[in-house]
């Protein structure tokens, strides 16, 4: 792809962001929240995709980083009186460090073993958040002082999302991204060609932990009360994977489409059909995973509606 095309695409991302920036003043608080959470899932799905879509290492415990971010924000704001914005950075840094510490040993594991280890790591993080009472107040949870947060969290999430899309785009089209794809296709061969796969995997893993942590922090500031089960919720990991897969994992656009689509469908259905909706959600997961492993983007590429090179 030419330099011009890249610039055009990045410009599109910015325009897309600006378009969303003028929206909130014109819609209701609820719709603003809805858009905010939709953007959050875009961030989560894209981040998950950086490690699991690009390299093929299925992180089945990515919610750990989201939870760490949420707790960093809650602890620093509620217990130490920080302004909430810097806590997002702290959460991101802590999550990245934790990702490197976990990833260094665990990324040696292949296939299902990595998936299970990450599941264990996420559940373990939840338990630590529960038993480390002096820091996290355990099962009591943490409550923030009440604030008007509708606009601030919307804009914070918007900026985070634009940033995540831009980073995912750059990664997807860089030599770094090419090497991550090489790891997915054949790790042994990539190694034989002199790619230091451990370093690349680790870098991708650390990068993929940053954005969910910031998103978790913003989310915590929006909800104003968190406890371990609500922020270390396994289904958040599932949603990341499912949204990526629905849109097309390993691409940049896929997870965005998947997140928007899935979150919207859920919002529209569950209000009216509480239990039935959840059964349908289970069946939907089965259908997507079973019959659309390459997602909507794969579908579009096969029919020539999207160009492969553009989306990886």
């Amino acid at each position: 792809m030419s330099r011009r095309e890249h610039l055009r695409n990045l410009a599109l991302i910015v325009v897309f962001g600006l378009a969303l920036a003028v929206v909130p003043g014109t819609v209701s608080v609820y719709l603003r929240s809805f858009l905010m959470f939709t953007m959050m899932y875009v961030v989560l799905a894209l981040s998950w995709n950086i490690i699991s879509g690009f390299t093929g290492y299925t992180s089945f415990g990515h919610v750990a980083f989201y939870g760490i971010g949420a707790y960093a924000c809650a602890i620093l704001v509620a217990d130490h009186g920080w302004h909430w914005i810097p806590t997002l950075l702290v959460g991101a840094v802590v999550a990245a460090l934790v990702a490197l510490a976990i990833g260094y040993p665990v990324l040696r594991l292949k296939g299902p073993y990595f998936a299970i280890a990450m599941l264990g790591a996420a559940e373990g993080t939840r338990v630590i958040a529960t038993v480390w009472d002096s820091l996290t107040h355990g099962g009591l949870g943490i409550s923030f002082p009440n604030v008007e947060n509708s606009f601030p969290t919307y804009y914070a999430m918007l900026i985070l999302m634009v940033l995540t899309i831009a980073v995912a785009y750059v990664v997807g089209h860089s030599r770094f991204g090419v090497r991550l794809n090489a790891i997915r296709e054949d790790e042994g061969a990539a190694e034989a060609l002199g790619v230091n796969t451990t370093r690349y995997k680790l870098a991708a893993f650390g990068l993929s932990a940053i954005f969910p942590a910031a998103a978790g922090g913003i989310q915590a500031y929006k909800v104003l009360y968190i406890d371990p089960p609500s922020v270390f919720f396994v289904q958040i990991t599932i949603a990341m994977a499912l949204m990526s897969m629905l849109g097309g994992k390993g691409t940049v656009v896929g997870p965005i489409v998947g997140a928007v689509l899935l979150y919207t469908i859920q919002e529209l259905t569950w209000v009216n059909f509480p239990t039935a909706h959840l059964i349908a959600y289970g069946l939907f997961i089965i259908i997507v995973a079973r019959f659309m492993p390459r997602g909507l983007m794969g579908f579009a590429i096969d029919r020539g509606w999207a160009r492969k090179g553009m989306v990886h």
């Binding site: 695409n9 599109l12 991302i13 897309f16 378009a19 969303l20 929206v23 209701s28 608080v29 609820y30 719709l31 929240s33 809805f34 858009l35 959470f37 939709t38 338990v127 529960t130 355990g138 099962g139 009591l140 949870g141 409550s143 923030f144 002082p145 009440n146 008007e148 989310q219 929006k222 909800v223 104003l224 009360y225 968190i226 406890d227 089960p229 609500s230 919720f233 940049v252 656009v253 965005i256 489409v257 928007v260 689509l261 919207t264 919002e267 529209l268 569950w270 209000v271 509480p274 239990t275 959840l278 579009a300 509606w305 999207a306 160009r307 553009m310 989306v311």
Partner: protein, 396 residues
Amino acid sequence: MTQRTVIGSLAAAVAAVFVLVGGPALAAETVLFGGAISQTGRYAEPAGRQVNAIKLWVDEVNQRGGLLGKKIELRLLDDKSDTQTSIKLYEKLITEDKVDVLLAPYSSGITEAVANVNERYHMPFVAYGAASTPIWEKGRKYIFSIVGIAEDYQKGAAHLAKQIGVKRAAIIGEDSLFPRQSGKGAADWAKKLGIEIVLQENYPQKQMDFTALLQKIKAAGAEAIFSNSYFADAAAQIRQMREQNLNVKLFAGTVGPGLPAFAEQLGPTAEYVLGFSQWEPLPDVLKHPGMKEFIASYEKRYGEKPNYHAGGAYGALQVTEAAIKKAGSFDKEKLREALASIDVRTIFGRYKVNAKGMNDHEGVTFQILKGERRVVWPEKWAETKAELPMPEWSKR
């Protein structure tokens, strides 16, 4: 093309949401009551009974001709027992659906989060599913409580323990907001009454094997156990005590023993267990006005006697009704004023809140005797004398 796809799909999504949640058109003679209560997920069981009571009350009011001449339209959403979903739904109810009167959610954790939302929009409600005091200690003005506080769940059991000469007790409980508050209360009451706490430990949600914890309790020499628990954990504890032949003088649960399934499914094992209830369907004992009628119509409609969750929700709505009548309108500020000052007797008991918005509700401690819950404390309501200490397992 691909980025445009994104914008396109997002725009479509936004448009779809606009169309679908545009809010129901309301006829002039109806008034909209709305809330989000867990109909699925971990709180569905107790919250479901509150939904029952709410629906019953709405139908009754509408049969009577409505409230201030308006029929009530009810909008109950499901928060999936999830905090994030819940606050989003309350924003929806307030800003999109523009409900006139807000109903409370279920559980202390979710109420803690939702209390910020309704506070911001000055929409008052009477909470019937949250008993943790911290919610009312943040200077909030638009949340009121009808139920007794979590810290008093073990008050009766502690007094009964004192009466039978218990000197050393253990406090255990699930590690989440509400059980921890009731555990804190149990410790305070024990201290006041001169009972030494020899072990205090929280266990994670979904814990099922208590063998080691029970052995620790035995090792610590506790004569009584105050268990701040729900159904599954309390049931597992008492069963495993029997299995391990561990005898104590007193075992007090909080929420679990009050559920009908506890005595039904555990049978003889559940005998002599103490439990706490905000309210019991005993019109002859509690003597609150209207109890008989409420119990009869609830039982007729749902095939079971109402438990305290149902009673609390119904009572809270009676309070709301009285406050609306007193205010003479559905105006949220006037309603808030009325809720803060009104003194009213409901099927659930008296409602008169203090400056923090908390009601001084007194619950009952009961004991399971021959498969029935019998009130044993406070004395003014006691149906029978508590049969304590519990007989040893081998002598039953």
